[in-house]
């Protein structure tokens, strides 16, 4: 956190493709049909630098409510960093993140001297609480049982009563197929089960959208399907999701929008058919050849 340079978000203008290099849709037609006038998530000109390392170089992305977006790209292309900018685990070096029209982390308008007023940490926490996140390495609380993991945030953040939180948590564990594992500690669960608990934990906050950062990358191959099936059910239930994933089969089946990132830029975006089956750029062709 200390290495983050001074934040001066400067929206790069209204057009999402103002950066020129940003989008090169393969089949001409952008997936305009699925994008509503007010997107739930809107990223405008996101840059992120860690010291001298320029990880994101101006990314624009819009995701409509209920839409599933899968972010693909080679490792180091900035997918996870972009995802983490959405719930402010990373502070963008430039650019603006809006959720349901509300700027994240800063006041809506710049101050008179051109600087941006950062929000107090309590308000940032409140913004984060509306966004669920699932990590590659689960990050369950190891000193709590599966049930306690799921109950923790509703009690501590939303101020729910214990009985109410427990009932909701048990229902969620049932939903991810782990109702009978409620009293197990994470160390007693397989990777796939841990990840499903992590999904239940995020859902317990009743988020407006869910972020998945390579949710199946740390799993043994035979455990991937059980996690993907939960994701698929969530998508069918209308949850807005952004998933960083290498699972092309999942992307093709579930995604409304596939976004290909390379070297800190969004290179192509469109429907799974457009991006996966009819790649436009050489970089995407090369990437797909290496993962398919």
């Amino acid at each position: 956190m200390t290495t983050a340079p001074q934040n001066t978000p400067s929206p790069n203008g209204p057009s999402p493709s103002a950066d020129g290099a940003t989008t090169a849709p393969a089949a001409g037609a952008t997936p305009a049909a699925s994008i509503t006038p007010t997107p739930l998530i809107s990223l405008e000109g996101i840059h992120k630098a860690f010291g001298d390392l320029h990880v994101l170089k101006g990314c624009d992305l819009e995701v409509a409510a209920g839409e599933v977006t899968v972010l693909i790209g080679p490792s180091g292309s900035g997918k996870s960093t972009l995802l983490r900018c959405i719930n402010q685990l990373e502070e963008p070096t430039a650019g603006r993140v809006r959720i349901a029209g509300v700027t994240q982390g800063y006041a809506e308008e710049p101050l008179a001297d051109g600087r941006w007023q950062k929000l107090p940490s309590a308000q940032i926490a409140r913004q984060r609480s509306r966004i669920g996140m699932v990590f590659q390495r689960f990050h369950l609380f190891p000193h709590m049982t599966a049930l306690e993991n799921v109950m923790e945030a509703p009690i501590q953040v939303l101020g729910r009563g214990k009985a109410e939180a427990k009932e909701a948590a048990l229902a969620l564990l049932d939903r991810v197929g782990l109702g009978d594992r409620a009293d197990h500690y994470p160390s007693e669960l397989s990777g796939g089960q841990q990840q499903r608990v992590a999904i239940a934990r995020a859902l317990a906050m009743e988020p407006e959208l869910m972020l998945f950062d390579e949710p199946t990358s740390a799993l043994d191959p035979e455990l991937v399907a059980e996690v993907l099936s939960v994701l698929k059910e969530l998508a069918e239930g209308g949850m807005t999701m952004i998933v960083v994933s290498h699972e092309m089969g999942f992307a093709r089946e579930v995604a409304d929008q596939v976004v290909f990132m390379d070297d800190g830029l969004i290179v192509e975006q469109g429907t799974p058919e457009q991006v996966i089956d009819h790649p436009g750029s050489e970089r995407l062709k090369g990437f797909l050849a290496s993962v398919l």
Binding site: T2, N87, L89, S121, A122, A125, R126, Q127, R128, S129, R130, I131, G132, M133, F135, R137, H139, L140, F141, P142, H143, M144, T145, E152, A153, Q156, V157, V176, G177, R181, D183, H184, Y185, P186, S187, E188, L189, S190, G192, Q193, A198, R201, A202, M205, E222, L223, A225, E226, L228, S229, V230, K232, E247, G249, F250, E253
Partner: protein, 325 residues
């Protein structure tokens, strides 16, 4: 030793599921045997020395081990140990959290506190706290250069007992701060990120997520420090506080001109208290190790992870529908 006929056990337990079980014979270890005999002889010699040497005067030890002054001394020693450890832990936690702060003033003050209180002898510090009421005879709260709202004499509120507790706690806090800091640092950064992503506040993340996990790392050295503190209380004479176990037994020894039996009385009591503290530490470690160590914690945790995974029959027979990819 006895040469049993192999048929006898085989007749009793005919169904060994493992065929051809290896019946191993250890290789000879003469060196081990010789050294064991030598050590045993030395121990016997020591026991003989302890029992027969009249200097130890076990009769006097038996007379005074439950002496009122001695037992009261045990009580005071325990009380000082417990209070100064509690106070010391609170100070240490504050100092450790200050060390992690982004504010240079908080970081600097914490560093300076640790530097001074870890870097000077505890005996010196105890003498200082004993003189505190002389150095600061009156404490007053008021407007600077203005009227005094109220004041009190420190001598009325800061007896030798509290000087001892505060002195020991401040010294201990400096050591514990480093232990707690390393404990806090030992918790995976992903834990903080996961709790942040859930919208938890920094205070709650620390209280609910980080500290409980750090305790697993902190408790073993904390137990060590507590046992160390138990014995450091013998220095409270410097304050001077004169009711603790060491002072009480020394006082009796001086009266009787029999120092050695009463040293043994004190030593036996310190050993007894240490044993009790070790039991307490065991339970603390088990509590904070829950979810981490399969050998400890709840009965559920005793089952190994692998058996849990196997029993779970995770993927193929799962209740969830499979995704066709």
């Amino acid at each position: 030793m006895s040469t049993q006929t192999p048929a006898a056990p085989a007749a009793r337990r005919p169904a060994d599921p493992i065929p051809g079980r290896i019946r191993a014979k250890r290789p000879p270890r003469p060196g081990t045997w010789i050294s064991a005999v030598i050590v045993a002889l030395l121990v016997l010699g020591l026991a003989n020395f302890l029992v027969t040497n009249p200097v130890f005067d076990w009769g006097t030890v038996a007379t005074f081990i439950l002496d009122v002054k001695v037992v009261q001394g045990v009580g005071w020693t325990l009380l000082i140990t417990v209070l100064s450890m509690i106070l010391g832990t609170a100070i240490a936690l504050t100092a450790a959290i200050m060390r992690r702060s982004e504010n240079p003033v908080l970081r600097g003050v914490s560093w300076a506190y640790i530097f001074v209180f870890r870097g000077t002898p505890v005996y010196t510090q105890l003498v200082f706290w004993g003189l505190f009421t002389v150095i600061v005879p009156k404490l007053a709260l008021g407007v600077p250069f203005g009227p005094e709202l109220f004041s009190f004499s420190t001598r009325d509120y800061f007896p030798a007992f509290w000087a001892a507790v505060v002195g020991l706690a401040l010294n201990e806090g400096a050591y514990l701060a480093e232990i707690i800091r390393s404990g806090l640092n030992s918790v995976d950064k992903g834990q903080t990120e996961a709790s942040k992503a859930l919208g938890m506040s920094n205070g709650k993340i620390l209280r609910r997520i980080i500290i409980p996990q750090a305790m697993r790392v902190i408790v073993p050295p904390l137990g060590n420090e507590t046992i160390g503190m138990l014995k450091t209380t013998s220095l409270v004479l410097a304050v001077p506080f004169t009711l603790d176990l060491t002072f009480a037994s020394n006082a009796i020894a001086n009266k009787l001109y029999a120092p050695i039996p009463l040293l043994i009385v004190a030593a036996l009591w310190y050993l007894a208290i240490t044993s009790v503290l070790m039991v307490g530490q065991h339970f603390l470690e088990r509590y904070f190790g829950r979810g981490f160590d399969d050998r400890t914690g709840s009965p559920a945790a005793k089952r190994s992870r692998q058996s849990a995974v196997n029993r779970a029959g995770t993927t193929p027979k799962d209740s969830l529908p499979e995704v066709e990819l």
